[in-house]
């Protein structure tokens, strides 16, 4: 009995030291990590809509209003759309102009099948979204007619659907948000 108590206490001591260390390191690094994340997201937005300043809006979805740095004219909106793909969430960052036509997209996070679904991160896949509006966001396998549709990636229709439908959903919500607030200038 005494031996078990001693073993338990020893393990407890190890765990307490480890936890204390982790808590200490976490308190040191957390603000730095968050600052880096915010900076990275900012850089990604600037890549999608150059020469713009961004204003964050929290609504039904979180999005950013992009205005020209000098003229303050509305350039568009950026947001990160998310939907479940073949094996986990697929996150796509997108920029749309003031009439909600897609300027550019980038799949920023995915865990899809290597060699099939991972092709969604390639620029060729992203390119076909440019210039599309919400009504053209339909995968060809779901009845879309070229050129007003998105061509599914070979062997990765589910991934294509995740990206396309997520963007469509978010643009629809965004459209309601903007019109509801009378901000569509």
């Amino acid at each position: 009995m005494k031996m078990f108590l001693k073993l338990g206490l020893t393990l407890l001591a190890f765990c307490m030291v480890a936890t204390a260390l982790l808590a200490y390191v976490n308190s040191l690094t957390k603000p730095k990590i968050e600052a880096i994340k915010i900076k990275e997201a900012q850089e990604a937005r600037e890549m999608l809509i150059p020469d713009a300043e961004f204003e964050e809006v929290h609504g039904a979805i979180d999005y950013y209003i992009a205005r020209d740095k000098t003229t303050k004219a509305l350039k568009g909106y950026t947001f990160t759309a998310e939907k479940a793909g073949y094996s986990g969430a697929v996150k796509t960052m997108a920029a749309v102009d003031s009439s909600l036509t897609i300027i550019n997209i980038k799949v920023v996070q995915q865990t899809e099948t290597p060699g099939l679904g991972t092709n969604s991160t390639k620029p060729e896949f992203a390119a076909q979204f440019s210039g599309k509006n919400a009504s053209q966001l339909i995968v060809d396998k779901d009845g879309g007619v070229a050129p007003n549709c998105i061509k599914a990636l070979t062997g990765a229709t589910i991934t294509t659907r995740a990206v396309t439908n997520a963007l469509k959903e978010y643009i629809d919500i965004l459209s309601q948000e903007i019109n509801g607030k009378g901000e569509a200038k």
Partner: protein, 196 residues
Amino acid sequence: MSFISELTKGIIKENPIFVIVLGMCPTLATSTSVSNALGMGMAATFVLVCSNIFISLIKNVTPDKIRIPVYVVVIAAFVSIVDMSMAAYLPALHKSLGLFIPLIVVNCIILGRAEAFANKNNVINSIADGIGMGLGFTLALTVVATIREVLGNGTWLNIKVMPSTYDPMLITLLAPGAFITLGFLMALMNMIKEKK
């Protein structure tokens, strides 16, 4: 055993993947491309060396009956500290290696070496063992990844090496392809060993 022989044994004679067959989960997951393999290999080597030093240092105060839970706590805490510090102070490195760090926690090579080597040997030899095993792991991963990436994607380190008419064998990039590749490589290793 001397420092040098501890260092070299992990590379061929006791290669963690081909001979000891440890760490199969990260092997399958990260050998789809050479850049992933190198990243995982380096991150694992770093953690392996540090955890070996640590386990070797505390081997005299660790009661034998609860050594495994203690190792798990030490390794998990250590990996998390490395992950957090890297994300905060070396963001560029974290971007390329960060993906593999959570995978290292479940890499049984680390626990395997702690149990089989570091808790019986001194710090210097444990460092040698960590470096050797880490290099062996990196080397084996790279070999598997080379075969999988060239056959499955027609590229090596993202550089195109196969002619454009080559139709990639997608199966090599999927899990079954990893097992088949690994099987052939192990057979090859055994053949070479038996000839000696």
